[in-house]
């Protein structure tokens, strides 16, 4: 099979699964009106498929900071920090993240994907083991592959299963990196962090927690699951992204271990990627200040979460195991999921469609992402649309 034949096979598989007239993946967004509203084709739609948890993409403080950075430092850094130098804003953001987590060190990356790729591949290598949750994000899988370490999975959030796999490793558990997520992106559930910490201590392993979906969402000041559980000092490495609650693009890793700084010299994704633009850094610094003081935003976010989750639950939809800003509706077939996705779009609501093999356990998902910027009326409208569509989806 030639290289192009392989891509033809991908096109055929996609065609078999989804009709060609529907642009489910990479849906064209023709205009953006606010953090919750946009235009698709001629239709005004409600954003319910973005990860704008605190609704900060149009925060005046962030817009102003980004504009000022472009004016003073230009549109890009045009290279990596290793080769082209570290701007003051990048260094300041790292210090602000380290202060936020009361950690020794922080490294800022250009994307959240790169944060996991760089951290995992910099920490683990040939002869080491990475022990990852079965529902881990692709960036974790890819970081593990790049590391060259042996990759072993444990069943999602199953601590008996994790311990069994640690025990099998024997002395190698001491050169093992365990990786879990604060909130899992598919079903919106949390890692049982206290139990994970106990196991990593018992077996002498190292723990990396990805707070991509929990930063800004959990904890009094929005640190994530570490703050919600009071375990910030127990986790070795914390990664996260700027592209969700912080409304920009980029990623970070913080650690209590001073050795984190050495990743700058061994981690190829860090060394060989251009650093974030000055505007991105400036808007992220402004957003981080808003996030840290965003108690009211978190209260509004969780009110919206509980309202929509309980409404969908009462309607009889099968949902992820706990309320979270990621509310996944679990459907039996891709056809049901597609029908629900299309129906919601016809009601002016844009959500995410996830079909096998991307969704866990062979299911299909229609995934909603709730924001603090959604109004109570918008949540009611979404609930009503799900109510109307239920009859046709399950007939």
């Amino acid at each position: 099979m030639s290289l192009l034949d392989k891509l033809d096979a991908v096109a055929a598989a996609r065609k078999a699964l989804l009709p060609e007239d529907v642009e489910v993946f990479g849906t064209p967004i023709d205009a953006v009106y606010s953090s919750t509203e946009a235009k698709i084709g001629e239709r005004r739609i409600l954003f319910l498929g973005t990860n704008n948890y605190l609704g900060l993409t149009f925060a005046p403080e962030c817009l102003q900071a980004a504009h000022a950075a472009i004016d003073s430092e230009g549109t890009g850094t045009t290279g990596s920090r290793m080769a082209n130098g570290s701007y003051s804003g990048h260094r300041a953001l790292e210090q602000e993240f380290a202060d936020f987590y009361q950690c020794h060190s922080c490294i800022v990356f250009t994307t959240g994907y790169q944060a996991n790729l760089a951290t995992i591949s910099g920490l683990a290598g040939a002869g080491d083991v990475v022990l990852i949750d079965g529902d881990s994000h692709a960036s974790i899988y890819d970081g593990c592959r790049l590391s060259g370490a042996e990759i072993i999975r444990f069943r999602h959030n199953d601590m008996v299963d994790l311990e069994k796999r640690l025990r099998r490793l024997g002395d190698r558990s001491r050169s093992t990196l365990i990786i879990v997520e604060g909130i899992y992106s598919m079903l919106g559930d949390r890692a049982p962090l206290a139990d994970v910490v106990k196991l990593k201590d018992t077996y002498g392993s190292t723990l990396l927690l990805d707070e991509a979906h929990s930063l800004g969402v959990l904890g009094k000041t929005g640190q994530g699951l570490v703050e919600e559980t009071g375990l910030v000092g127990e986790v070795d490495f914390i990664t996260g992204t700027f592209s969700k609650s912080l409304g920009g693009i980029g990623g970070y890793c913080v650690s209590k271990h001073p050795q984190l700084d050495q990743l700058r010299y061994v981690s190829r994704p860090y060394i060989f990627t251009a650093s974030p633009t000055p505007a991105t850094i400036a808007s992220t610094r402004a957003a981080l200040r808003l996030l840290r003081g965003g108690t009211g935003l978190r209260r509004q976010l969780w009110q919206n979460v509980h309202k929509l989750y309980s409404r969908l639950d009462k309607l009889g939809y099968r949902l992820g195991p706990e309320p979270s800003p990621v509310i996944a509706t679990i459907l039996d077939t891709p056809q049901q999921a597609l029908a629900l996705w299309r129906g919601l779009l016809e009601h002016g609501i844009y959500v995410n469609l996830v079909v096998p093999p991307a969704a866990p356990e062979g299911n299909s998902l229609v995934r909603c992402s709730v924001s603090a910027a959604h109004s109570s009326e918008q949540m009611d409208y979404v609930g009503n649309a799900f109510s109307e569509l239920r009859k046709t989806i399950f007939q």
């Binding site: 042996e150 990759i151 072993i152 444990f154 796999r165 099998r168 096998p356 093999p357």
Partner: protein, 83 residues
């Protein structure tokens, strides 16, 4: 040694039955992806079952070269032997 491999093969075929109809014969040459339609996620879940069956760790990186039932049985046998 040969009997160990046979034991692995038998147990592996038992696990693979969940992916086939009752009348489908699984042989060492059976292709996991093309004949049994085991996608990447199903294969990873199968590996966790196999790890528990044989009380071993099977790194998923080692699956890159595995295409047939025989190749998977050989990998499991090698890991068991190295324990």
């Amino acid at each position: 040694m040969a009997s160990d491999y046979t034991d692995v093969l038998q147990k592996l075929c038992h696990h693979l039955k969940q992916f086939t109809g009752p009348d489908v014969e699984i042989t060492p040459d059976t292709d996991l992806i093309n004949q049994l339609a085991i996608d990447s996620v199903k294969l990873l879940n199968l590996i966790m079952e196999i790890e528990d069956e044989f009380d071993i760790s099977v790194p998923i990186n080692a699956l890159a070269d595995v295409q047939t039932v025989h190749e998977l049985a050989t990998l499991i046998h090698q890991i068991r032997t190295a324990k």
